[in-house]
Symmetry: C2
Subunit: 434 residues, 2 copies
């Protein structure tokens, strides 16, 4: 969707172009900011202004609205648009996966502004050029909920390529819906990771005044340039106010709210770091550090893996068949890892037929322990693998990856019960934290 004829006319009349600072009076309110590119997601009557605070605000231009050019676009923004800003600083790759980033972002809509250049990005968030030399490109543009194994494979390969090619790290703007699944997938696929990979998203699209796109993106750049971390992480607001971001381990993070800016939580551990928007980056606990060497993208995945939450009355007929027809299945059982007796029997049959079944808990917090109650012991006897304190989603992604790497049951079981990327906390560590 492009501008309405009303907006086109008023822009032409005043000679306003992107990068200029405008004053827009609308409904009795004045808004002053830099005119940002219009994107298809926006309403045709809305102009997007970047305020001094860094936030973008969408202002609706009505019949009585007045628009004046306060100042023409600065040289900095023009040079930025030509991609020469940030030169001499550390290079950071920005690999777009769907929609666009920064001011264009709604991170989810693939339709928007498909060819994002580094220049566009720097023009949108010019402060990033003070931090690093951005090398941005769009890998693909799909809705976050349409991400799947092939998407993860493509991202992992491109990340390994950029890191081995000398980039200081990668920023992956990503729709928030499935960001936790992707961060887990990249965590397992990227072996011997030597540099940080930071997934960022926004819970508010950037044409809304409270967008978190801007601060999350800048914080990601700072995290890459200013720390020694070399993990796959998700960086999102840590509170509902605009003060700091939390850096979550890619295998321990889950979207826990549909709309809050601090929707992402580390489950069963603290975030590995906090980025104060106007202060330092503080680490908590352990993190993987940078190293020399080559990052390997080991991306093979078994896609015939199923994730099922148990619930009362779950049909053994229907889901027994689903289990038997899957190469692998992750169950989110109740409590310490239980399902009903009739499902235990179906699980037993499925495992006997060659399905790898891993148990996690729908409680999300805490860890599976199938040694406490009879049902758990029956499941262990049936051959179910304990998922420990892994998130159901992480166990699902890990199982896809493990089954892509290994064929024999012994290796599969061993890998699933070994902590590879911080996804599994030992019982002792859990206890010490409780």
């Amino acid at each position: 969707m492009s501008y309405s004829s009303r907006v086109r006319e008023i822009l032409q009349k005043t000679g306003a172009v992107e990068g200029d600072t405008l004053q827009v009076r609308s409904d009795g309110h004045d808004h002053i900011g830099v005119l940002m590119p219009h994107h298809d997601f926006s309403h045709p009557d809305v102009v997007v202004l970047k305020l001094k605070s860094g936030y973008n605000v969408g202002v609706k231009v009505g019949p009585t609205s007045e628009l004046t050019v306060v100042s023409k676009g600065s040289t900095r923004e023009k040079t930025a648009r030509e991609g020469i800003s940030g030169k001499g600083k550390k290079q950071v790759a920005v690999l777009g996966t769907g929609g666009t980033i920064a001011s264009y972002v709604d991170y989810r809509t693939g339709a928007v502004h498909p060819a994002l250049s580094a220049g566009d990005l720097v023009a949108t968030v010019p402060e990033i050029a003070d931090i690093c030399d951005v090398r941005a490109e769009v890998l693909f543009s799909i809705f976050s909920e349409n991400m799947r194994a092939e998407s993860w494979q493509r991202i992992a390969e491109e990340v390994a390529d950029r890191i081995n090619g000398g980039m200081e790290g990668c920023i992956i703007p990503h729709g928030t819906d499935t960001m936790g699944y992707t961060s887990a997938a990249l965590s397992f696929m990227l072996e011997d990771l030597t540099r940080p990979v930071v997934l960022v998203g926004a819970q508010r699209s950037s044409d809304r005044p409270s967008s978190d796109a801007y601060t999350n993106l800048l914080s990601a750049a700072r995290f890459i340039v200013d720390t020694d971390a070399a993990e796959v992480v998700v960086l999102m607001h840590s509170t509902s106010s605009d003060t700091s971001a939390a850096v979550h381990r890619g295998t321990k993070v889950r979207k826990m709210h549909t709309s809050r800016r601090d929707a992402f939580h580390s489950i069963n551990e603290a975030p590995i770091a906090t980025v104060d928007f106007e202060g330092p980056i503080t680490f908590q606990g352990e993190h993987r550090r940078r190293s020399a060497g080559k990052t390997i993208a080991r991306t093979a995945m078994e896609t015939n893996v199923t994730l099922l939450q148990f619930y009362p009355g779950m049909s053994p007929t229907v889901f027994g068949s689903v289990l038997r027809n899957s190469r692998g299945a992750v169950l989110a059982g109740t409590g310490l890892g239980h399902v009903s007796s009739d499902m235990v029997e179906e699980v037993r049959k499925a495992v006997a037929g060659g399905t790898t079944v891993v148990m996690t808990s729908q409680c999300l917090y805490g860890m599976v322990d199938m040694n406490v109650y009879d049902t758990g012991r029956d499941l262990l006897t049936a051959g179910v693998i304990s998922g420990g304190d892994m998130l159901p989603e992480t166990a699902f992604v890990k199982l896809m990856w493990v089954l892509g790497q290994k064929d024999d049951e012994k290796s599969i079981r061993e890998l699933m019960t070994t902590n590879l990327r911080g996804e599994l906390t030992s019982r002792r560590e859990q206890h010490e934290r409780a």
Copy 2:
């Protein structure tokens, strides 16, 4: 499992019987407490003592252990065992659903001590006789994970019967694994509820020193006798320490930790009340109050309802078929309520074929809003019903119940989108809380 010959011999030799206060020296430690009944879940070498603190502790009797009778069982416990304690106080029904309660509890094991009498209960938690006149019985004994629609129906009918028969309220000891599902089911089934129904459980079985069975049970009795509430609620510890219990609305509560005593959380609202173990009961927000009239158990349920979490790569072939073969299905989509494009198509086909499909969010917190993005709008066009801020589990139980009550699509949609038992918070209320 009964006592080992070693324990049987030492009990015989000393003449110790249940109700006597014993001192047991084992591994250099002294334990003094009242000998509790042995149950099948306990180790054959373990005697269970009720300490002065109210907690039960299991003490292993080894070859070198010494056991002496400090004092014979008190008259109070003897009279309690005959069921005459608490006389003259308000009557409270305790309806066991699986395993046993209080000192016998492991709330989950059906095998244990199947015929629990009121006397047994009062002997186990004698303090309850200071609060109310307990009328306890065991409805059935099944593992919590084996609960299903028939179990909920039976409980609802018995509850309505007891309440209409003059009981001040009902306590339902229940395994914690599926307690949230049962509390939702009872909430919908019990219409015009005039008295409180309190589900209680324990995260630590009562032969462990830190069991929460005792305090949760006493708090449930206090909540029934001392307040004006008339809702189905879950009462469990509110912190990991032993200070207070939270009273959660039956449709808003979820088990969020596999093992912590404060595993249960109200989602998208605060608990309706807090019971300080040594202080007052404090209400937050609104609650339903007692009334005269008759409580109706409307228990019909459609059991062909499926609960599915969407995940990347979910097979449209497999789950399209599952959807089409279900009378109703609740999806836990990503974010604001999304699934992949290929699953949208399967949902459309299923709805067209007569399946009622309700969307919730796997985020758990927040509310579904399918008007924000294209995928959501496609799902609405396909005929999907928004679950608002309902928990996936609550929406699943509600859909079973609604489909049991109504046949026509219009009534089903209207009931699913109407707040019946506090399960749905309006968007405005959500906003005010955020």
